[in-house]
Amino acid sequence: MHYKMLRLAYSMRNVTKVARAVRPVPAARMQPVRFMNGVKFYSSTSSLTKEDVLARSISVLNSFELKVPSSSIGMETEFIKDLGMDSLDYNDVLVALEEEFDVVFDDNVANEIKSVGECVDYILKNYTPAEESLDPEIR
């Protein structure tokens, strides 16, 4: 129970952060909104930005052993050609990205993906804000 609450609180915090990145909300308007309402309010209009997804994708990539500095990674970067990965390596990355964004790469998509940008686009298209999906505890 306690754990569930923690998880919920954490995902809410995330949503708020994301929402801020989308469009800065005047502090005065944020103040009176109650916690639960706040989530509802922002989620209905917010989605991830490309910049945000890319930044988080790069930090996911950073948890792997990279042969290039992460600062050189961009939308055009290709896993095999630029990062020197093999098919197992970048499929590992794909699954890590799935966990980070709570998406699943379809088999036919995953088999075709070559670049970081293709991942980012797919994530943007398939991302569902956490609170609109079922509670992770009962999913």
Partner: protein, 85 residues
């Protein structure tokens, strides 16, 4: 003979279920072993169908057990970051 794409699809599923273990030691173990085994499989030169069949059975075990692991929560270990969604 399984195609390279089938094997990669299987690999992703192994990693997905491994990552879903709530227990740190089991999660790390199955990630490590999945990586090791698929790397061996990639270099394996010959008929892979028996190996793939066995892997599919093991995947069923992972799928069930990762779910069970999610049903029981214990404190995080001192080497484990508390965050996680």
């Amino acid at each position: 003979m399984a195609s390279a794409q089938e094997i990669l699809s299987l690999y992703r599923q192994f990693l997905r279920y491994s990552r879903q273990f709530e227990n740190y030691n089991f999660r790390e173990y199955f990630l490590r072993r999945s990586r090791e085994e698929f790397r061996k499989l990639k270099e394996f030169d010959g008929d892979t169908s028996a190996i793939i069949e066995k892997a599919k059975k093991e995947l069923g075990v992972l799928r069930r057990q990762s779910k069970i692991s999610q049903m029981y929560h214990f404190d995080k270990l001192v080497v484990e970051k508390v965050k996680k969604h």
